[in-house]
């Protein structure tokens, strides 16, 4: 009899826990789905060819986000251009050359901490250092440099982790054939960690697209249509910053939601390409 009571109690417990877990899963899913649907419903009707290809003008009372799209492209391009060689180079040095493992450990820890601090702090430092001290003014270039610092730890760590997965036996094999250090790294080690570099790259692009706080301080708010070179030297806002400006300062919620929808599609594309790239390089490495 007692036994039966115990079983009943236990079944109750199991049922309650299952219900609770089901409920939290349901809430999580519906929140995510709600967000996506809400943004698309609000944003989609406002996306038009005129919006995508035009520039804003207060005189003609029209809006367009082409300059913002271009600014985003410029800043992604320049940031990657600077952060990739720096980050990969540093990672190769730290994993392959550096002798003092203690110092390397400290640097790795510092990089991990850096990648976790709020981006507005990068913005503040970037504004003081790049815009004022280095006299770059408020410009896309200053913004790009700020994002370089922000993404350096990501690239560094993902590359390092991937370098560590290249089997030591590959290095030994190459050294055993009389290859010098740099040749071993260039021909055996680096090709083995391309997937890590690409993963880091895609993560960084995602972060750059989503970044607003750091750019508010450094890159500015201008909507002027510029070519890539004069664009980098002048103030300009990216899609995320434009979203903020349209929603908060101009009350143009339609445009803001249109940008939000575009950013969401972009993020989806980036995640998809990350998954594809990883799959592709894994296959190439193992077959």
């Amino acid at each position: 009899m007692q036994n039966y009571k115990f079983t009943k109690k236990r079944n109750m417990y199991i049922m309650t826990m299952r219900l609770l877990m089901w409920a939290s899963a349901a809430v999580t899913c519906s929140l995510v789905i709600f967000m996506i649907i809400y943004v698309f419903i609000k944003g989609m009707p406002n996306i038009s060819w005129e919006l995508l290809s035009g520039e804003p003008s207060y005189l003609e009372e029209k809006t367009g986000i082409l300059p913002d799209i271009l600014n985003t492209v410029y800043i992604v391009f320049f940031t990657l251009l600077a952060v990739l060689p720096l980050g990969v180079g540093a990672a190769v040095y730290l994993t392959e050359y550096a002798k003092n493992k203690k110092v390397v450990g400290v640097i790795e820890y510092a990089a991990e901490t850096l990648s976790g601090i709020p981006s507005i702090i990068y913005g503040l430092v970037g504004m003081l250092f790049f815009c004022q001290f280095l006299n770059m003014k408020t410009s896309l270039l200053a913004g790009a440099f700020t994002l370089v610092i922000m993404n350096l730890p990501t690239i560094l760590r993902t590359t390092q982790e991937s370098l560590k997965t290249v089997p030591q036996s590959y290095r030994e094999g190459a050294f055993g054939l009389g290859a010098g250090k740099w040749r071993v790294i260039r021909t055996v080690v680096l090709p083995g960690c391309v997937d890590g570099v690409i993963t880091g790259c895609i993560l960084s692009v995602g972060r750059i697209l989503g970044e607003s706080a750091a750019l508010l301080f450094t890159a500015g708010f201008a909507h002027a249509l510029n070519g890539i070179f004069e664009g980098m030297w002048s103030s300009g806002c990216t899609l995320t910053v434009a979203l903020y400006v349209y929603a908060k300062e101009q009350g143009e919620f339609g445009v803001a939601f249109a940008i939000a929808a575009i950013l969401m599609v972009l993020t989806l594309l980036i995640n998809l390409s990350a998954a594809l790239a990883e799959k592709y390089f894994k296959r190439r490495r193992t077959v």
Binding site: S169, E172, G173, A174, F175, G176, G178, A179, P191
Partner: protein, 251 residues
């Protein structure tokens, strides 16, 4: 037969731990020399010293001389990459690079500056033939080397080592990760290769040492206990410890 490698009073430390104690040995050319001994006795460490692969490990300190063709390999005038080209190495676990079979073999020659396509083709075919694997892979040279079986991978690694035209081949338990059929193929291959190369092989398998080697060196706890003609060493060992080991009393 002249001596290819002469080692004089060599000691080696990993940090504070002394792994090799006062090794003296002369290895004749164009023969197979086997290093036997229980795990951790220093035979692999010694093998890796002969082409300075131990340089890659931090905290290794070596005293004494290793003469290769009469020249001390620790001399500052020695180019370590050139030394490793002449004293090639085959590892315990087959370690082909994740590239095509062709590129694996061509890796060494390319490293040493050969770019001519026809010449590379020649070297690739020659090396694969010498390693007795040409017939098995000639139709799939562009395929990834990691798709080969373990035994084929190991023969590929031997071919890769041969491609840089070494004089000495160091083999670190080359058959311990392989099945019996692959093992006998590698053994046959070694017997054939000794006509042109000096082979030094670490092995855990005493039958293997008896089957293929000309000289045998027995290591114990970092010391070279006994070294001599394989037949003599196995039939009439001079040292009690050698006798105990080869009769299976420990190890």
């Amino acid at each position: 037969m002249s001596n290819m490698i002469t080692v004089k009073n060599m000691c080696l430390w990993y940090g504070e731990h002394q792994a090799l104690k006062n090794i003296n040995v002369s290895i004749p050319e164009k023969s197979i020399t086997a290093f036997i001994g229980p795990s951790g006795c220093g035979k692999s460490t010694f093998l890796k010293s002969l082409n300075r692969m131990n340089d890659l490990i931090q905290g290794v300190r070596i005293t004494g001389d290793i003469l290769y063709n009469g020249k001390n390999i620790f001399d500052s005038s020695v180019d370590v990459n050139e030394l490793r080209r002449e004293v090639g190495m085959v590892f315990q676990k087959p370690n082909p690079f994740p590239m095509s079979i062709y590129d694996n073999i061509a890796y060494g020659p390319r490293t040493h500056g050969i770019k001519n396509k026809a010449k590379l083709d020649d070297i690739v075919e020659c090396s694969l033939r010498d390693a007795a694997i040409w017939e098995e892979v000639k139709d799939r040279l562009k395929k990834n080397a990691l798709g080969l079986s373990g035994g084929q991978q190991q023969r590929l690694c031997i071919a890769r080592a041969l491609a840089v035209k070494p004089a000495v081949l160091l083999m670190d338990e080359p058959t311990s990760a392989l099945d019996p059929i692959s093992t006998s193929k590698i053994e046959e291959l070694s017997m054939k290769l000794k006509e042109n190369y000096t082979i030094i092989m670490v092995t855990h398998n005493m039958q293997q040492a008896v089957r293929i080697s000309d000289q045998t060196a027995f290591f114990l706890l970092g010391e070279l206990i006994e070294y001599g003609n394989t037949e003599t060493l196995f039939s009439t060992p001079k040292d009690k410890r050698t006798e105990d080991y080869i009769t299976g009393r420990f190890g």
